[in-house]
């Protein structure tokens, strides 16, 4: 898919830039929210600035609305209102750990992202929306992507 190629290229670019920089941490995702949220303890004013870089080690606390996290491999995570999650990286393996609340995520094809609820790995497969609740249940549903050319639903915008 063309979209996947785009994300793949972007990931390669970011990996290249990461190698070129001896110190700098590299964003592994971007986060979008329509309301203010917290990023590693700092309050983030969302108005007028839709997208913020997210790096390994960051902790996100969603505001009164959901926060959408798009990883560079195309994986999209929707963090529930007031929910809290942290992005971790160990030995080049990226993971997202839900600390409180709930999230829904859909792994991109070939994504290596691991999603945990607390210390429990949430089983998931690419293209299937998976919902996890902190300390609770996991549910999966097949996501049917909208046909090309048609706008997506705006019901949750």
């Amino acid at each position: 898919m063309k979209g996947s190629r785009g994300y793949s290229n972007l990931r390669r670019l970011i990996l290249f830039l990461a190698a070129a920089s001896a110190f700098a941490a590299t964003p592994v995702a971007s986060i979008v929210s329509s309301t203010d949220f917290q990023l590693s303890g700092a309050n983030v004013i969302a108005a007028g600035v839709p997208s913020w870089p997210l790096m390994a080690g960051d902790t996100v606390v969603a505001g009164t609305s959901t926060a959408r996290i798009r990883f560079v491999d195309g994986t999209v995570v929707t963090l529930g209102p007031k929910s809290k999650a942290t992005v971790q990286e160990k030995n080049d393996d990226l993971s997202l750990r839900l600390l409180s609340g709930f999230l829904t995520f859909t792994l991109a094809p070939n994504s290596t992202l691991s999603v945990y609820s607390g210390s429990t790995l949430v089983p998931a497969q690419s293209g299937v929306a998976t919902t996890a609740q902190a300390g609770g249940s996991v549910a999966n549903k097949i996501v049917v992507p909208p046909p090309p050319g048609l706008p997506p639903t705006l019901s949750d915008y």
């Binding site: 979209g3 670019l13 990023l39 999209v76 992507p145 090309p148 706008p151 705006l154 915008y157």
Partner: protein
């Protein structure tokens, strides 16, 4: 119906129809693009085309240019994205949100120096994004000298950045920032208090003493190791100066009307309303091991109960290692010199000099009266 009324009705209906269409957000390309960009495996090229259409409809908006810049970034078209952000800034260089989006673009594409420049423009404009930007600086810039050089003479931003480094306990970076602020004349007493507190918490006693004395403008090895022993200056709040913890059970304050030396002293006024356990006047002092004498002039007026104020020399890290107290000062007395000898072991590089009053176990225990302190010295013995 007459003709004018019919024409008016048709015009109203047409206007309503146009308004419904025009105000329907769901048909706006930027809204569609924003929603689409949140879908898994969304096509970046389609998002670019939608934002391009939004820009075509409103090409004077820097936000639309920034939207397209974000879309190009997502589609890995970095030069095109860079052009869009430049154009957005050319349209309006006063909007912190546009500078912020440009900074985020540069952070995302690894051009950190450019990101820093744009982020600093935000800091120089509004304080709202300090926390999140300083977090990015920690992770992506990592060099406080570079950050402060970019901030330049904007005192608010520089002090806020240094405060962030102190609050997040980045000791070495905080020291770099502190020294830069002192050199540029932007350091102040509240920042000094929090900075010295950080160094002491990190057990960097020598650095704390050196940086504090340099800031306070006193010799590093003065004859009197205590700072502001005569209370001639208002306490700064720093731990290496007198620190007063207020309470509604007593009053601890500089006294401009009574002094043994100079023009001022300090008084503690007990209000006879509680069996006070007092330890609310303290100064920490960094000392090399050796023999010292604490000297102070004290005065009292109408101090009641069997437990009265005393001076105390304490090892704040481990009180069991060192805790010396003078005799209590009860009743009324004119200025009296009090001395206390202390031997500081090598393991106790930090002393706390305090005024204390222990809670009384007697029935009549609500302490009243006033205690004065002046000319406090800690000198080699």
């Amino acid at each position: 119906m007459n003709l004018p009324a019919a024409i008016f009705s048709v015009a109203v209906a047409a206007g309503a129809g146009w308004a419904i269409t025009a105000l329907d957000n769901s048909t706006r390309p930027d809204v569609i693009a924003r929603q689409l960009s949140l879908q898994p495996a969304a096509d970046p090229a389609r998002i670019v085309s939608l934002y391009a259409e939004a820009l075509r409809r409103d090409s004077a908006s820097p936000y639309r240019w920034a939207d397209l810049g974000d879309a190009f970034t997502l589609d890995n078209q970095v030069p095109a994205a860079s052009y869009c952000f430049e154009h957005a800034l050319a349209l309006n260089r006063r909007l912190p949100q546009i500078w912020l989006r440009d900074a985020n673009f540069h952070f995302q594409t690894g051009t950190d120096a450019a990101a820093l420049k744009s982020a600093v423009r935000v800091l120089q404009t509004v304080p709202d994004y300090d926390g999140v930007l300083f977090n990015y600086f920690d992770r992506m810039i990592g060099n406080p000298s570079q950050v402060l050089a970019e901030i330049g003479q904007n005192r608010r931003a520089a002090v806020s950045y240094a405060s962030h480094l102190i609050a997040t306990e980045q000791v070495d970076d905080a020291r770099t920032a502190w020294q830069a602020l002192v050199a540029s004349g932007m350091a102040d007493k509240p920042l000094a208090a929090s900075y010295v507190g950080l160094l002491l918490r990190a057990h960097r006693y020598a650095a704390a003493k050196a940086d504090w004395t340099d800031f306070a403008g006193v010799p590093r090895d003065p004859p009197n190791l205590l700072f502001n022993g005569g209370f001639e200056d208002d306490p700064s709040g720093a731990a290496l100066d007198w620190r007063i913890q207020p309470s509604d059970q007593f009053e601890t304050a500089i006294d401009n009307t009574v002094a043994h030396d100079g023009k001022r002293s300090l008084h503690v006024r007990f209000l006879a309303n509680a069996n006070v356990s007092y330890a609310n006047l303290t100064q920490l002092v960094v000392v090399p091991p050796g023999s010292y004498e604490l000297r102070a002039w004290v005065r009292s007026s109408g101090i009641t109960t069997n437990e009265c104020p005393r001076l105390e020399i304490l090892d704040p890290e481990l009180p069991a290692r060192l805790d010396l107290r003078t005799e209590p000062f009860c009743g009324s007395s004119d200025w009296t010199l009090v001395t206390q000898h202390v031997t500081v072991p090598a393991a106790a590089p930090l002393l706390a000099i305090r005024v204390i009053r222990l809670a009384s176990e007697k029935f009549d225990n609500k302490i009243a009266g006033t205690f004065w302190l002046d000319s406090v010295q800690l000198v080699p013995y």
